[in-house]
Symmetry: C2
Amino acid sequence: MAADSLDQVVSLCKRRGFLYPGSEIYGGLQGTFDYGPLGVELKNNLKRLWWQHNVYERDDMEGLDASILMNRYVWRYSGHEQTFVDPLVDCKTCKGRFRADRLGDAACLKNSKQHPGECEGELTEPRPFNMMFKTQIGPIPDPESFAYLRPETAQGIFVNFRNVLDSSNRKLPFGIAQIGKAFRNEITPRNFIFRVREFEQMEIEYFCTPGQDEQIHNTFIEDHVNWWVNVCGLSRDRIELYEVPAAELAHYSKRTVDIMYRFPIGLEELEGIANRTDYDLGSHSRDQEKLEIAAAVNPNAHSTTRLSYFDQASNRHMVPFVIEPSAGVDRGVLAVLCEAYEEETLENGETRVVLRLKPALAPIKAAVLPLKKNEPGIVAAAKQIKNMLQATGQMRAVYDDTAGIGKLYRRQDEIGTPYCITVDFDTLGREEENGLKDTVTLRDRDTMQQERVAIADLPALLLGRIYGAS
Amino acid sequence: MAADSLDQVVSLCKRRGFLYPGSEIYGGLQGTFDYGPLGVELKNNLKRLWWQHNVYERDDMEGLDASILMNRYVWRYSGHEQTFVDPLVDCKTCKGRFRADRLGDAACLKNSKQHPGECEGELTEPRPFNMMFKTQIGPIPDPESFAYLRPETAQGIFVNFRNVLDSSNRKLPFGIAQIGKAFRNEITPRNFIFRVREFEQMEIEYFCTPGQDEQIHNTFIEDHVNWWVNVCGLSRDRIELYEVPAAELAHYSKRTVDIMYRFPIGLEELEGIANRTDYDLGSHSRDQEKLEIAAAVNPNAHSTTRLSYFDQASNRHMVPFVIEPSAGVDRGVLAVLCEAYEEETLENGETRVVLRLKPALAPIKAAVLPLKKNEPGIVAAAKQIKNMLQATGQMRAVYDDTAGIGKLYRRQDEIGTPYCITVDFDTLGREEENGLKDTVTLRDRDTMQQERVAIADLPALLLGRIYGAS
């Protein structure tokens, strides 16, 4: 299984309501996408499973939800004002602007392999272009009154380190987890929701004493690979670990390992897990000179707070080391969709499209279908079952009678609904006494096998199958 | 119950980790707040309950999650470029800038009641100030290449109307629900999280045929008042309906009713429910002249899509009317906190602070506490119970042994934890045979009553009490 090309997934997403291009009726806005009715459920399920695994099921994690707009000094001292740049060149002839590191040989992109011979212009020297979106804050157009849209959620955690520590009384090691939007002014957004200008991150900053950092790093790598495989259903064969070479490491990183996934567009980063040492807390701290910071931080003239921890064992204030697992929500959604997509040839020669999503991720958990939509008894029973499943509070269930049963099954297969429940005449018990009164047909998406199940057993049976084993 | 002043709630929120001022270590960023470990749980619970009520428990609702950055034409044709303005005046002497409608008499604000005699300056005439945040998109500083941060989530729904319709095969009436961030460059953010620059909305656009609109409007008003009362625990006595007078109606509105809540700062809007007629779909539509739009819309020269619905009964393309319930997530959080806050005098004369949150909203559902933290058997049993509750996947449970039992109870009362579970020697069954082996003490936050419960019964008992009756 898995999609052969991104186009298959893009087409399904638009047609069935997982994802639409952003602002489409006005010609779009490059690098933005809107999650449709099924997409928002899939994305929310992914986020909830991540939160459950990383916050609820651990005893050493707190959550956080910081704002997108932050004081500009956050981005000065994080290093983003200086270093969050792409090198751009301008063509002196056609006035095109391109990323220097994507040009290859030194010709205008309009005379590149992609666009041969379009332009013969001479290029300027590369200049740094900052990828942060900037906006004016407050009513007065004062050059100092601006803010950036955060390009990562991580800094919202670092600047709240003392707040969380003080209100939770945590001891090291402990982590802070956050899910939220981030924005990057990408020069060339591409590959559907893989590289976009507005996206969502699931990040942890895990604080520990130096010396614990390397082992914790390894543990997170293993744990998060297992999560993508066991909880999200990605194939282990399509995942590779990429040990970022020393020469390519970000300035703050002691070691970074990327969890790579084999998308139809190639092997690409799904999650990065970095050892950021004490760089971030150190950079945002007051009184840096008193804190024996290991990383090379710039002097901070604006922070009002020491981002340190009092270590009782050594009786001193120290700056914790940080391990950061940072995953893209949208990339996660894309990986899950690509992995689950299958065009399957059936015994009768027909093709069915099926999304083999883990049941806990599926937008709709159960579709209740009446065998005949003009039989009031069948319709009433089907709607009642739908309401009963909905009342569990743990699944989205739908009722559908807008086509024949075969077509309804195919529709649900295509959007990944793990269970279809069909109500028929036997359910009503009108026929000869055959013991099937108050039972329904339960059909499994993957095997297409059907079994007869008592209505009363459905909620527990489905909850067990959906959440029990994941 | 309920807080007497906002200060009580603000102080609790900071101290216990519900909310922190945004970017605090750099002196803050006015109008932004960060949700701490408890705040993020409370907010997520509120959003989940809203989604459950408005999407899952209905058969006529789809979800959506559109981007924050949208094509600028969205805001031209929605009317926001023209009309989303506050009137501002400048003081010619002190250069202060103020909202004209808040000045009262025509003196500089620095010589107002708040700031008597500070300045005698003369004011300019009021000028319109647009409250949308603007940002440059793409690498080239082209005056056309900008986007606004959405000032409301609603427009993301309108521009996707055809997409949702086409991928869901819905018939009128049906609605689209969305929860997401919005941004407004407020001149004077104030009152904690009540009026901020970055906030979250829970909005529904409900599409119907003209003629159905008035009744649907009334039904939503009643249903949503009941939701705030029954699900969120707001007192009906503190809620009032405000019928917006015709002269104050927004240009698109046929009728608007605000659900007002009596905050400690006064009676203020919690949710607005507006009849927007066919103004929005009509404004964003192509071929407006062919669609018999009732509202006075501006000609649209850029839309590529007819935002209409084919009505089989009348055999024509029509533009649906829209009922919009629009609630503030942060205002909801604030209302719930204010309502739940109580300083209670106990029989022994002591005061306890208790947050009487609905259990389904409480950040932590159960705290498992060892009577003695240096008894390995008690500690092990407590941690095992915590893990058992966590494994339900439906509650955040915590283990805490950092203080004596009385103090631990008070801490949990203050953050609204509905149930404390205490493990003692009887639980272990080491004492004389008293029938209490494998039982624990279950303490209720509100009544402070304790009962003895079998460990094995805890998950079902708690789930029933937390979610059963809400």
